[in-house]
């Protein structure tokens, strides 16, 4: 049974001692957040799941990859996931044009059974607007807005200065606002 006081550091120590139950608790604690991050960054559900599986499985197969000296566990996990997603995006690029990626994202999202509880049409518009952002702007807005990291945490995860991170965020928001301008009023009316 999970203790309310059980920290990520405690759980990772248990995972290092091959405690499968502790690994399950750690996965349950972070899976939704990591999956959300990968899904936002990659768009394609299947790619996001591949990355999440690899990242989370490595917590068990290579627990020594994290230590307290590497900082806050959720921030470290976000950084590892972000890097894995960026690697995946860069590998995808030679084979797939951006337009194709955007089309596939929208097409894949609609029939995906994971999306049944979610307003597909609205989500697709926002997902496509995110897809159109440059990589670093997308990472900044996803980490800050969708993952709930503070600005300082985002700067640390991205390994950039706070002012640079603020600039990325501001440019991302400006582009999203322009991209969603036609939908903005309608979306708010629906809310």
């Amino acid at each position: 049974m999970q203790s309310a006081e059980e920290s990520d550091e405690d759980l990772m120590r248990l995972v290092s001692a091959r405690d499968a139950a502790a690994f399950a608790r750690l996965v349950d604690r972070h899976l939704a957040r990591v999956h959300g991050l990968a899904r936002r960054l990659l768009g394609r559900p299947a790619d996001a799941e591949d990355v999440v599986q690899d990242v989370m499985a490595k917590l068990w197969t290579a627990p020594e990859a994290w230590s307290a000296s590497k900082g806050n566990f959720p921030n470290w996990l976000s950084r590892v996931t972000s890097n894995a997603c960026i690697d995946r995006l860069r590998r995808r690029r030679p084979d797939t044009g951006l337009d194709e990626v955007m089309t596939m994202t929208a097409d894949e999202a609609a029939p995906d059974p994971f999306d049944k509880a979610f307003d597909t049409q609205r989500a697709n518009r926002i997902e496509q607007a995110l897809e159109r952002l440059p990589e670093r702007q997308k990472l900044a807005i996803v980490l800050f807005h969708f993952q709930g990291h503070s600005g300082a945490e985002v700067a640390r995860i991205m390994d950039i200065k706070l002012a640079a991170m603020e600039s990325l965020l501001a440019r991302a928001r400006r582009k999203l606002k322009a991209d969603l301008a036609d939908d903005l009023q309608a979306l708010l009316t629906d809310n």
């Binding site: 091959r18 499968a20 690994f23 399950a24 996965v27 349950d28 899976l31 939704a32 999956h35 959300g36 899904r39 936002r40 559900p45 299947a46 799941e49 591949d50 999440v52 599986q53 989370m56 499985a57 068990w60 197969t61 894949e108 995906d112 059974p113 994971f114 999306d115 509880a117 979610f118 307003d119 609205r122 989500a123 926002i126 997902e127 800050f144 807005h145 969708f146 503070s150 600005g151 300082a152 603020e166 600039s167 965020l169 501001a170 928001r173 400006r174 999203l176 606002k177 969603l180 939908d183 903005l184 979306l187 708010l188 629906d190 809310n191």
Partner: protein, 175 residues
């Protein structure tokens, strides 16, 4: 002005709203109070904050779908108990990749036991069909069954579901 804005300036207020959005709770902790004080007397900044809030709400309306149970199970499978000695696997080395069915054409599929298992029912069904065919042929009743099958297959029946049921019952009776 007598209020303490802790060094916040209108420009910094605009920059913070532009970057962090309309929720002061997401603004930098060490600047929030000063910026809020400044915001109270600045209609232009208040309008910018409202616009930023609207974008926040729009973004919030697109929740990411939750991870599937299959994904969770796939992750947890790496920590499954070690296989019996001699099978050549250990719990730390055996990773059972979770792959969605829509990955066709994106590289080789991982090795699974499942496809081999699903071949047996199909093979058994084919063998049973062959035996039934031989038996029907030997008993000399193939003609009526073929006729019924052709009736069922034709689309001019007004009660094809009924015909199908009858056909099935008769076929079962023959067996």
């Amino acid at each position: 002005m007598s209020t303490n804005t802790n060094g916040a300036t209108p420009q910094r207020l605009r920059d913070v709203i532009a970057a962090y959005g309309g929720d002061p709770g997401r603004w930098p902790d060490d600047e929030r109070d000063g910026l809020l004080t400044l915001l109270r007397g600045n209609a232009e900044a208040a309008a910018a904050r409202d616009e930023a809030r609207a974008l926040d709400q729009v973004l919030d309306s697109a929740a990411a779908p939750p991870p599937s149970a299959a994904l969770r199970a796939g992750i947890l499978s790496v920590a499954a108990p070690a296989a019996p000695a001699g099978t050549g696997t250990t719990s730390s080395a055996k990773v059972i990749p979770f792959r969605r069915p829509d990955r066709a054409g994106e590289g080789p599929a991982p090795h699974h036991a499942a496809p081999r298992r699903t071949m047996w029912p199909t093979a058994a069904l084919l063998a049973a069909s062959l035996l039934i065919g031989v038996w029907i042929g030997a008993a000399g009743i193939g003609g009526s069954l073929v006729s019924e099958t052709l009736d069922f297959a034709s689309l001019n029946s007004s009660a094809d579901t009924y015909d199908y049921d009858i056909g099935l019952s008769e076929a079962e009776g023959l067996l």
